[in-house]
Amino acid sequence: MRAHLTRRYMFSASHRLHSDNMSDAENAATYGKCNNPYGHGHNYVLEVTVSGPVNDQTGMVCNLMDLDGFVQHEILDHFDHQNLNTLQEFAKSVPTTENLCIAIYDILQRGFRHAHLEKVRFEETMMNSFEYAGGRELRT
């Protein structure tokens, strides 16, 4: 039997939305308050969904210790309490939550071997959320 398991995590980080490919006026018009040169921060909620057959021996899709350990070492330790603009993931892209979704998805896709990665979901605030499934359509 195949099941999907979702785990929620939280980290806090700052960012500034600014594109070097736009003029100052275009940046201000596109990003509004998010273009403030000093940056601002969010408490990001990250949801990771993995899937796979439920193992007969353990009753699990994957051991939470493995998922929590990977996310802690490879994601939270790297992103929590950082300025996203200073990280190598955003050296060439704007740290929007769209791009953050893709960056985190790629880290999991490259390194997490204990279950199939379905999707990554982010809540930037309680009012907006973003999901990325590697370019696939989302499941209802």
Binding site: M1, R2, A3, H4, L5, T6, R7, R8, Y9, T49, V54, Q57, T58, G59, M60, V61, N63, L64, M65, R139, T140
Partner: protein, 136 residues
Amino acid sequence: MVYLTRKAEFSASHYYHNPQLTAEENARIFGKCNNPNGHGHNYTLEVTVKGNVDPRSGFVVDLKQLKDVLNREVLHAMDHRFLNKEVPEFLTQIPTTENIAIAVWQRLAPKLKQAQLHRVRVYETPDLFVDFYGEP
């Protein structure tokens, strides 16, 4: 096609243990969840059904019937129970969130008449949930 989701809550205790494994393996794989005295959670259940809207009633499903089936088949069996000892499925399977979602599906699917079961979601805590879509 319209999807309808009904929520329910139940509280239960459980522990994780596989008698085919050694005590050391059980402790390594299941960690704190291996405590044989059990521990508990407030589970939240979301049952999603799908179907076409009946032109006469305007319903996908009669919510009262869905609620009755949910109460009878799932909540009555699992609420305020020690899952390992009191729920038949978990005498032979480990009551992980995955297996609870599968058990809920298997209890509900044959009893739902109007609408088709689409998804069972079980929250063990607000930060951990499992979805089961009836996939083999």
